[in-house]
Symmetry: D2
Subunit: 387 residues, 4 copies
């Protein structure tokens, strides 16, 4: 009989729904050493959290996240709230002896992220695990990319180019939301989506950024307030609010192995909906990925004779590919949410084995330091800023 793992989830918006689907689904496709139970969902509004629990499949609710930490039937706390609350909740949970999965970016400031990484290190010493939710690492094509680099198929890395392109506020009449408010979100495109491509490129290359030169931009500084304060509807109400975060971030960087890098994160790339595009050029091979075609990895093998060399469109849907064997036959693609299921699988497996899962809070802190260097460079005439 598989032992269980009681999970408490804090937050039930977009990320809460994605995590719920992962907790529900993982045990049906993967042999997990611990069977997750969707024990409790926490949110401030009693009526709305009850509705959400019913819809998302959680057994009970709390309106104060601190209650979740006190419950004996909860072994793991999953933090899906806006970034300004991550540090407080995650640190308290770790101190209460709960494993923690925390959405990215780890925190809104380096100071908070440092405190969290310290707490994670102390907790690890007591066997309590923590992980930050850079879920795109678990897209099979990204897993394969990482593997090809680790196997030396790219040789020495020379170029990295990464873009995360969206367009959901390209229209200046799109209303304000918490994601456009620095107090809640910490930053705009930079922390929300730029954080992902920083993490992904470091993960794939196995290297770290050592410095950056950056520009930030807010194209639309005033937006209509939403119809109601807590609304997720995207409908504009009366009055205007001030956007206090970046709409777009572009930056150059250098990896510790010597590669040149360029990054772009924006919510104003009209026509690109969720385009995470990553290219890596090495001395032996090259890679290209685009989340708009997420089941595919492009690979150029420089060892091929010139007459037959070319970027291969690898359909990453074979049993030989990371995570894929647990799902459907070859060629039957996965979707956005599967990365969250794989995250649950890896996290639960690490907990059962007594290992520290990756990406760790220390990894999250390092990304936070990159974001911080980007902001400092942008504020100092793009001057090169070490990380």
């Amino acid at each position: 009989m598989t032992p269980t793992l009681g999970v408490g989830l804090i937050g039930y918006a977009f990320m809460g729904a994605a995590h719920s689907q992962a907790w529900r689904t993982a045990p049906h496709f993967f042999d997990l050493p611990l069977r997750p139970e969707l024990t409790v969902l926490a949110g401030r509004d009693a009526v709305r959290v009850a509705d959400a629990a019913e819809r998302l499949g959680w057994t009970s609710t709390e309106t104060d996240w601190r209650r979740v930490l006190e419950r004996d039937d909860v072994s793991l706390v999953d933090v899906c709230t806006p970034g300004d609350t991550h540090a407080e909740i995650a640190i308290a949970a770790l101190e209460a002896g709960k494993h923690v999965l925390c959405e990215k970016p780890l925190a809104n400031t380096v100071a908070e992220a440092e405190a969290m990484a310290d707490a994670a290190a102390r907790a690890a010493a007591r066997g309590v695990r923590s992980m930050v939710g850079f879920t795109y690492r678990r897209v099979p094509a990204i897993g394969l990319a990482r593997q090809l680099v680790a196997d030396g198929r790219l040789g020495e890395i020379r170029h990295v180019r990464a873009q995360y392109l969206q367009d959901w506020i390209a229209d200046p009449t799109a209303p304000m939301s918490w994601r456009l408010d620095k107090d809640k979100a910490g930053s705009g495109a930079l922390g929300d989506i730029g954080a992902h491509i920083v993490d992904l490129t470091q993960h794939i290359t196995g290297q770290r950024l050592t410095g950056v030169s950056a520009l930030l931009e807010t194209f639309v500084e005033e937006r209509p307030l939403p119809a109601s304060a807590g609304s997720l509807s995207g409908v504009a109400g009366e009055g205007m609010g001030t956007v206090t975060v970046d709409d777009a971030a572009v930056f150059l960087g250098r990896f510790n192995g010597g590669a040149l890098a360029s990054f772009e994160a924006t919510r104003f790339a009209l026509g690109r909906k969720n385009a995470i595009r990553i290219e890596v050029n090495g001395s032996r091979g090259s890679l290209a990925f685009d989340f708009e075609d997420m089941n595919v990895l492009q690979f150029f093998d420089g060892d091929e004779p010139a007459a037959t060399a070319g970027f291969r469109r690898i359909l990453v849907t074979e049993p030989e590919h990371p995570y894929v064997g647990a799902w459907w036959p070859a060629g039957h693609g996965l979707g956005y949410e599967h990365g969250f299921t794989h995250q649950v699988v890896d996290l639960v497996t690490a907990i059962a084995k007594g290992e520290d899962p990756r990406p760790s809070f220390a990894d999250g802190l390092q990304v936070q330091r990159v974001l911080d260097a980007v902001e400092r460079s942008a504020a100092a005439r793009s001057v090169w800023t070490d990380i």
Copy 2:
């Protein structure tokens, strides 16, 4: 309080797993008028069906599918067995007053399919519903394709070309399986995957095929027997078995609106894993779809000025697209299994509304007649064969 709908599933291989995921997932993303309950899973081997029920989330098991039909807590029977058993199970279930979802192809012969369609018509008169599982109709891009044709955006349809390309037995040493045995499977590539492109092109165009001219081929006639009779492992054992179905089917056709069509279904298209490719050319517009990039529909709008006309790569991941609004934000693609969830949604909705869902058993019968005409044409020197 939402009333429930007890479901009994017969069969738990690939299709059983896909249907289970759909039954589990639908209520978490869609507001269903009836809440499905995974009441009972049926299979002949008591130990294996119990394992499967545990893994797939079913509450109880039966080793005789007839028991499922007798249970009061079952309102719907979901048939996921090989095609030779569809008619018997589905007809009995309908006669027992159970709604039926039956995997495709509806049956292995036209005679069986006729009996099933008759039973479905009788059942419908008593308010008992039935549906055949041409699940690809519920891929959002296919839904959009249907909508564009129905809205007249393609004008008069002139060409349809459709291919369903796989390669899982391109290697002559791949072992025998029930899918290569005419007694179990009825036909090979033709009924397994050709049936899908017949259904999809008829669905998208809103037209019917009126005749065909066909070739069938079995490239590899002897294959190693699998390691164990019931094995799904794909590992070869001792001795050879005879392939009694087609490896590939190619056929020409004509739609009742006058369009020329060409079809190809094969398991020998090396490098194509699950490529369902459909193109439609009309007098006003054209469409192209490839399941290897399943979240995309290509659309050419002939009303555009020549200088700016071109096939548009529509990312079918917007809230405006069929089914998509219930899932994730724009740009976050869906996977293979989501079509099954949409199928559950439409079926449950039709049952609650007292409507007959589509594709009906009559639709399934008509596809069966097309497949039959293909076989007859191939047997008669490709002569034109009316449907």
Copy 3:
């Protein structure tokens, strides 16, 4: 000092212009054993042929093609007239001891093509060479495709699918032209563009079609007459004319090595301008080509491990590729007209070496027989028709 080769060109419309560019350009990029001279251009209207000669770079003109054959300064006759005149001109030229390059399709009937092939065989015995202008064979990506098959990289060929898709008369108000008149053109899409994909697939596979099953269709049977009889303007005039050729042809086929094939040639594929699409699946590898991206060949190498296998987008612009080294550095793509230049290169080289160039008139005849079988099958309820 390189000896010269006097060329006489008959016809100066689209094909005449393409051939002229090839004759002018070849010696500037390739080391030719004979230097072509653009000696004489022939056409019936003295004023228009003089204008054309000026524009296309020809030194003199004739208004009767028979004069060209009598000239001592002409060693090669290049036939770019409509198909109904090919046989008469080409046979006369061969009998006059002139080498002949004849546009495709070789003729409008099998009988004419047989007479031409006979004449070519007789001429060859006297050292007079002939070639039919299936120019797409000389696109570098097609050359590479042929090479990969010849090298065994595809193994045993199992599937061929080929389409030649255009849309220039998809609009029912597009006016009549000689290409829609059976007396001039012999057939419609079938001979004009279908001939190319028959030749290309036979060339690439190194095999021959042994039989076909076919459908032909004329979607629009009456069209406005053009503004003036000789007009190339595409502008409609008064009155209607009857289209006496096919608008589209679809057919199945079988190659002598056992592969199944499907073909489609149409002028009604809205949005496809000149899409020659060829796919070949073998037991070891697969190929895909689309002339809309003519500098690319897709190749799937079945010998690759599953984890890294995928269709490679080979940019056929390397010095290692057929013909490419004579042009620009790697990556600088060629265009439509370059195939004609390569045709001149191969033809002139064969003449100088005293070899018979390919595709020969016998090759052209064989294609004509395929087209004829297609027409006969279409007239006989698509019944299988041997070639």
Copy 4:
């Protein structure tokens, strides 16, 4: 009778060959107001220049470029030498009253480029014209891109991202060449290919870069000397030489309309042969171009309803597109060299009309200033550097 325009070409390597093909070809496809004559080819080595003149179609030769300027039968001087000689030759030619076409980059330093722009301005006052050879402006897809922006179809420009990716020295054993020598080439990837994407993005947007932040990198600092000093063979000889230019340049920029930009020029992007990739996102629409698929422009029309919006793959091969009508029927793509022919057409037309052609030497100077700012920023820790 069309008056003639005597042309003198200085240099006969890669660029000389491309220009020669353009001068030869333009009058055969376009109605030119002046008929170019390939009067004289200049190069230092008498034997080699004579060979080149024979091959490229020039009537006479000179071994001292100054002789070309003295000839009365030369009205236009076409400068295709390495960058360190541009200023001297072009200024002398303009002062001698010859129109000048000068290859890009205009010069190796801003000071030289300023002197050239001054000379051009003085010459223009006397009716003598000059143009710098940013030939990619004349690719039809780029012409269409410019038109769409000029017509307001993109709205306010927010993002520009441009890459020029090659890989011809990614292999560290590729030998030295003049392009790797700062004295000859001025800079490496930056001036050779980076100059093109600076010009193209400014041309398409109709805007100017106002500042940059940059990184330059030389990945391989020592390379084998070529087999012979003047060799173009790419074969290594004995001994090593020092690379004195950048292998790669990455930089951020800002356009005067407020758009953020990022640029990358590299010769180390393994697998990318001549990939000029440009994307522009505006408030109303977006564009994407890749020279590896040069006959295509991707356009996203933000005015489309969300359900049918998508990037359109416009095949820029219609008579409605810039330059295309003069060539082949719809769908018959052009190649690399056609841009040079269009350049000749526009230059000759401007000369005949007495207008100043674009891009002017002033345009070339402005690009030079951008390159200079890139170098200064890279030398100053990437600090923002105004242009």
